[in-house]
């Protein structure tokens, strides 16, 4: 430090500070860029490969800038690629996932909102204990419930069907949605509810007129959380459905499991992107809320 200061005649300390500031800023951005590259390369690799021609991939490897451009792989992956015998692409599995995710998300969110409303504003003797017992569902590993579910779905005639998966995800999801909504509704002042009750408003009226209008922030968080979680789920999908009825995550594993020889990276890349797109879009549009949802439980 001393030698630098001696060389600079005008304002040595300020110059040194400026230099130090410049280098520390440079370092911050350099490290961030380094990690950003690591995070983005896999995504770019998949996007590029879904647009390259298979011979070009075979020749230049997976990690390379595209020298060709075509959308055939997307069309193949969507409608005509063969997965274990049937050649209908991922279309069916995509819609299986959609018809599983959308109802399960809506039902579990509605139930969560009502449960949360009751557990925060209509408490009764023992309701706190019941709430804590419900929370245990958050921590249950899916493996514990596999055999009981297999039995129940069999009895209900819901094996190998999307409805069975909806049922599983609703019941598994209630714990999460109730937790989210209850913790949010607790912060709504009780006086507001009391005043409404004195004015003669009942259970549903208070819910409709006071609670629901205040709910959008937490409902968005809950919907995003449930949608991404259910869409991305794999264990129940692979255990309780097969072939045509599989959700997209299970189909992706089946698709990419084919031997090691001559892998159709172009079609597989497109298929991976098709499977990743819905939660990615939800994340890009609702990212702010997504983060809030993730941090909500842990910070409190």
């Amino acid at each position: 430090m001393a030698s630098i200061a001696l060389n600079d005649r005008y304002d040595p300390e300020a110059a040194a500070a400026r230099r130090r500031y410049f280098w520390s800023r440079f370092l911050v951005y350099a490290v961030l860029t380094f990690f950003a590259v690591i995070y983005l390369v896999p995504l770019l690799v998949v996007i590029f490969n879904s647009l390259r021609e298979q011979p070009e991939i075979a020749q230049n490897g997976l990690i390379s800038l595209p020298r060709s451009f075509r959308l055939d792989a997307w069309a193949d992956a969507w409608g005509s690629y063969c997965i274990s015998g049937t050649c209908e692409g991922m279309r069916r599995n995509f819609f299986n996932s959609l018809w599983m995710t959308v109802p399960a998300t809506i039902i579990s969110t509605v139930l969560g909102a009502i449960n949360g409303y009751i557990l925060s504003k209509w408490r009764f003797k023992g309701s706190e204990v019941l709430f804590n017992l419900m929370l245990l569902g958050v921590f249950m590993p899916g493996q514990i419930s596999l055999m009981p579910w297999a039995f129940l779905l069999g009895k209900l005639g819901l094996t190998n069907s999307t409805y069975g998966l909806v049922l599983i995800h609703v019941i598994q999801g209630i714990s999460f949605t109730t937790l989210f909504c209850r913790n949010f509704y607790v912060s709504i002042p009780d006086d507001l509810i009391k005043a409404a009750r004195i004015d003669g408003a009942g259970f549903w009226r208070i819910f409709r007129k006071i609670i629901l209008p205040l709910s959008p922030p937490i409902l968005i968080v809950t919907v995003i959380w449930q949608f991404t979680g259910i869409w991305n789920e794999y264990l129940f999908g692979v255990v309780f459905t097969s072939g045509q009825e599989q959700p997209i995550t299970a189909a992706l594993v089946a698709l990419t499991a084919g031997g090691t020889t001559a892998r159709a990276y172009d079609v597989m890349s497109a298929a991976v992107l098709i499977g990743a797109l819905p939660p990615l879009l939800i994340y890009l549009f609702g990212g702010k809320y997504f983060v809030r949802g993730l941090t909500q439980g842990a910070i409190k």
Binding site: I114, M134, M140, I144, L146, M147, I174, L294, T295, I299
Partner: protein
């Protein structure tokens, strides 16, 4: 003719208690289905699996009681021991790794960088994507013939070697690296939220005292967000114990059995090998691992809340 006059007041006086009771009961009635479902899901299912783990079930669930036989044969199995060792190895590196990367990124982003939203989006997007997608893509990148190794060799470093998933001893590190890649953004988000909640006056005071940025972080900021470290660790450990998708897509447990995890093994026993009893025992061991982590943590949370309540 007097009857209608009579019934009206009677009905009116009888209606309120009945309706009132319904109103007071409504919350309980509405909550009941969810409560019953959750109760069955948590308690009945757990006891059910516990009982299966003590039964002689093989291809189909049967209820002949055999005591702890399944647990004994489970722990005598080499593959289960590999799975459990892997779980510890994976949990340790995965948690430390994603916390280290997450903390570094959070601190860097906290330096009033430009385009904060863009950086955050880049580091967090893997979290929106399933472990299946991540595992599949990384399995291609690890593939020595087509992936990173081929790329670096193509640049001219012809004896560069990067084939983690092809080797029994290193495949577990491929799982760890991919896990860290997927979830350090989550650690970053939690840490960043924590850093933002630190009292700015505290930081200013440290800076006025002449503490360097590094020292301020180490001595002032990080200690105040200590609970977040614990929260991140507990959440990550849950991911780790439940890890099934990531391994299923990335290595499928191989090469050989080198990346078997308890979750994978449960699935194999129950649905591939028709050993439901032993599979249930393995599932109970997973629950035990979770309980070892979560029970002390929840007790600590309750204790802390009560302590805060006492102190006002």
């Amino acid at each position: 003719m007097s009857t209608p006059d009579l019934t009206v007041p009677v009905a009116a006086s009888a209606a309120p208690p009945w309706r009132e009771r319904l109103t007071t009961m409504a919350p309980v009635l509405l909550l009941a289905p969810s409560l019953v479902a959750s109760f069955i899901y948590v308690f009945v299912f757990t006891l059910w699996t516990l009982y299966l783990s003590l039964s002689n079930s093989s291809l189909l669930p049967t209820y002949g009681f055999v005591g702890v036989d399944n647990y004994v044969s489970l722990w005598a199995n080499r593959r289960w021991n590999i799975a459990y060792t892997n779980l510890f190895l994976f949990s340790a590196f995965y948690i430390l790794g994603s916390m280290a990367v997450g903390l570094l990124l959070a601190i860097l982003i906290d330096q009033r960088v430009r385009g904060e939203a863009i950086w955050r989006t880049i580091f967090l997007y893997p979290l929106a994507v399933s472990f299946i997608v991540t595992g599949t893509v990384w399995s291609w990148l690890y593939n020595p013939v087509d992936g990173i190794q081929a790329f670096v060799r193509g640049l001219g470093w012809s004896d560069f070697s990067f084939a983690l998933t092809a080797n029994r001893n290193t495949a577990i590190y491929a799982v760890i690296i991919t896990g860290i890649w997927q979830s350090s953004g989550f650690a970053m988000a939690l840490f960043l939220a924590g850093l933002r909640s630190v009292d700015p006056d505290l930081v200013k005071a440290a800076q006025i005292d002449g503490a360097s940025t590094f020292r301020t972080y180490r001595k002032v900021i990080l200690p105040t967000i200590a609970p977040i470290f614990l929260a991140v660790a507990v959440i990550q450990i849950q991911f780790a114990i439940k890890t099934f998708d990531l391994v299923a897509a990335l290595t499928r447990g191989g090469p050989g059995v080198s990346t078997t995890f308890p979750a994978i093994y449960v699935y194999d026993l129950m649905f591939q090998r028709g050993q439901i009893g032993e599979g249930a025992a393995a599932a109970m061991m997973m629950l035990a691992a979770l309980a070892v982590v979560l029970v002390p943590y929840s007790l600590w949370i309750v204790w802390r809340r009560q302590a805060e309540g006492r102190d006002g």
